[in-house]
Amino acid sequence: MKTWLAALLAAVASVPAMAADKLTLGFMSVLSGPAAVIGNDIRDGMRLGLAHVNNRVGGLPTTVLVEDDRQKVEVAVELANKFIKQDHVDAIIGLSFSNLLLAIYPTVVESQTVLISSNPGPSQIAGKDCSKYFFSTSWQGDNWSEAMGAYLQKAGVQNVYILAPNYAAGRDVVTGFKRFYKGKLAGEVYTGFTQLDFQAELAQLRAAKPSAVFAFYPGGLGINFVKQYAQAGLKDQIPLYTSYTVDYTTLPAIGEDAVGLLRTSSWDPDSANPVNKRFIADFEANSDARHPSTPATRTTPSCCLTRPCARSKGRSRTSPPCSRRSRKRTSHHFAATSVSTATTFRSSTTTSGEWSKRAPSCAFVRSKSSSRITATLTLSSVR
């Protein structure tokens, strides 16, 4: 709750002269097609968050306009224009894909509308392209794959075959992976962004005889990929490691085929955090017993941006939005609770990545000199 509220309040506080009697938010996400599993969860998480604050964000009565960007760049751009020029929203929120975010980013920040992203955090807008109107309640795109790369490097795995879809986040994730995995690559393949049939790529993969496969396929792409991987008989031949692919949006559809896979993530439902428990209970109650997933946590208040953020509310406008910086100070400790047959966790976590202390007024800047990737993330294996 506090994340959401705090992030919004900080945003509201840092943008001048706004109508102070009500708040209009424009929510856009992928609500159709294979990736709708992600968008639906983000939307439900958002609605839950609103319900937790009785539809009054920052004390102001809030209306949220929900739109479907159909995973199409041109639709997203048109919706952004409509939100800004016709509906006069105070902030645009939601967003499930990095390429859509990047497409609307210049228009939105130019119009001085706040943009809050729940899922993507493309590295392209970290650093000098960062804007004080942009916030992300998630992570920077390459973090989880950095964790996986570090893990495989440490485990001494050689000859990895990489697969990812060919778009901004896909390339981001692979770059992050390669930043920490220094071994040999058996192949690096980018498939079409909407390609659903991977049979040809799986045949190539088999011929390349790698010792491990790292794949990133969000949403529906992940469902198809993992299922086809298993169907092709590759699962017990070549171990599959993933980031953002097998998670609680895709697990229901993937089913048994996900058993035995390893992935990196920054949240898992077995965390003993009481806010987390309340979130899970409420989410399942409100959305037909669907289990919440990581994207849902991004928009529902469940994590940690509490006092550091509230304190920053008082700072001047040139100070950076707090969302990322304060994450460094809080850590998510996911206890190693094994939950019967569902999931078991191996290690406790801290946040991945670290942001520069000398960051010039921007949340996303990464220091090149002082990045210590602390023990990354939850390694969860589905049993």
Binding site: D68, K72, V73, E74, V77, E78, N81, K82, K85, Q86, N99, L102, A103, P106, T107, N166, Y167, A168, G192, F193, T194
Partner: protein, 307 residues
């Protein structure tokens, strides 16, 4: 004053006074909306030239829209931001592509012509997706709007609107003059009865190809305008759904009529906007509406106004 003159006078007055009225009402969004309608009206007019008058059912016309947009985008990407260079390049590139595509396609007819024009548009679509440099599937942002050495600022919504209005009227007028010229007569004769026009001594192929090229170029101009309007260029502009939309505009407005394409474009987009306001499932209403309009409403909107 003839009915026709009154019709056009009313249209021009309404469109010309829209920006001040919209600004006064505090709804600048409508300036953008009508501007988009006018840009697509130019594209529809170009399609009417070959479809309505020429009888060539080109299902890949949106390809020229995309080509025009990408010409502007690519030139801007490489630093050429002068509109004086970009827009003629857009028209030229589209015309050239139309020449290439038309040369092959016009040899066929009927269903084959439809399929082959569709296929060529798909080829361009896939080409656009695979060009990583220009963003591939994601498309690219227009680096800067076309600059016309200070004469007109496309960043200003209102001046851009008036430019589009002027260009749309020019396109309609040019098309009107073409179809009523000797050249246009041959095209229309060939559509009406090809055997007879051959018997008189005309070779329809050359005339059709020329019309195809002119239509391609005009659509390229619409593409260049569109790029400046949306500030974002994606390969999706070449998709067959976009081509289908253009064809609907022509039919709805009334084929082979001067004001038809413009009326069709406006009607379709207004219908979309209204329906979108009612329900998110607006296509379930629009689909049957289009079906019924084709079956029952052959003469189109222009038939009502006889324009």
């Amino acid at each position: 004053m003839t009915g026709r003159a009154i019709f056009w006078a009313v249209v021009i007055i309404i469109l010309a006074t829209l920006p001040p009225i919209a600004s006064a009402l505090g709804q600048p969004f409508y300036i953008d909306l009508v501007r988009r309608m006018m840009i697509l009206a130019i594209a529809a007019t170009s399609l009417d030239l070959i479809l309505g008058y020429g009888g060539m059912v080109s299902f890949g016309h949106a390809a020229y829209l995309a080509l025009g947009a990408y010409s502007v985008g690519i030139l801007a990407f490489y630093g050429v931001t002068s509109g004086w260079a970009q827009w003629p390049a857009a028209i030229g590139a589209s015309a050239l592509a139309a020449l290439a595509i038309g040369a092959v396609s016009i040899r066929t007819s009927g269903i084959y012509f439809i399929m082959i024009t569709l296929a060529f548009a798909q080829m361009l679509y896939y080409l656009g997706i695979s060009l990583e440099v220009f963003g591939g599937d994601d498309g690219m942002r227009l680096k800067s709007r076309s600059l016309f050495s200070g004469l007109i600022d496309l960043g200003n919504a209102v001046s851009f609107y008036y430019l589009c209005l002027a260009l749309m009227l020019a396109a309609i007028y040019v098309t009107y003059r073409i179809v009523n010229s000797r050249f246009g007569m041959v095209i229309r004769a060939a559509k009406s009865n090809e055997a007879r026009s051959r018997a008189i001594g005309f070779s329809p192929y050359r005339y059709r190809l020329t019309a195809f090229v002119i239509a391609g170029g005009m659509c390229g101009l619409a593409g260049a305008l569109n790029a400046n309007h949306t500030n974002y260029i994606t390969p999706g502009l070449a998709s067959w759904v976009q081509s289908g939309d253009l064809m609907f505009m022509v039919i709805l407005g009334g084929m082979a009529s001067t004001a038809g394409p413009m009326l069709g474009a406006f009607a379709l987009l207004i219908a979309e906007e209204i329906l979108k306001g009612w329900t998110e499932h607006w296509q379930v209403i629009l689909g049957p509406l289009l079906v019924l309009s084709v079956i029952f409403f052959k003469r189109g909107l222009a038939g009502i106004f006889r324009a």
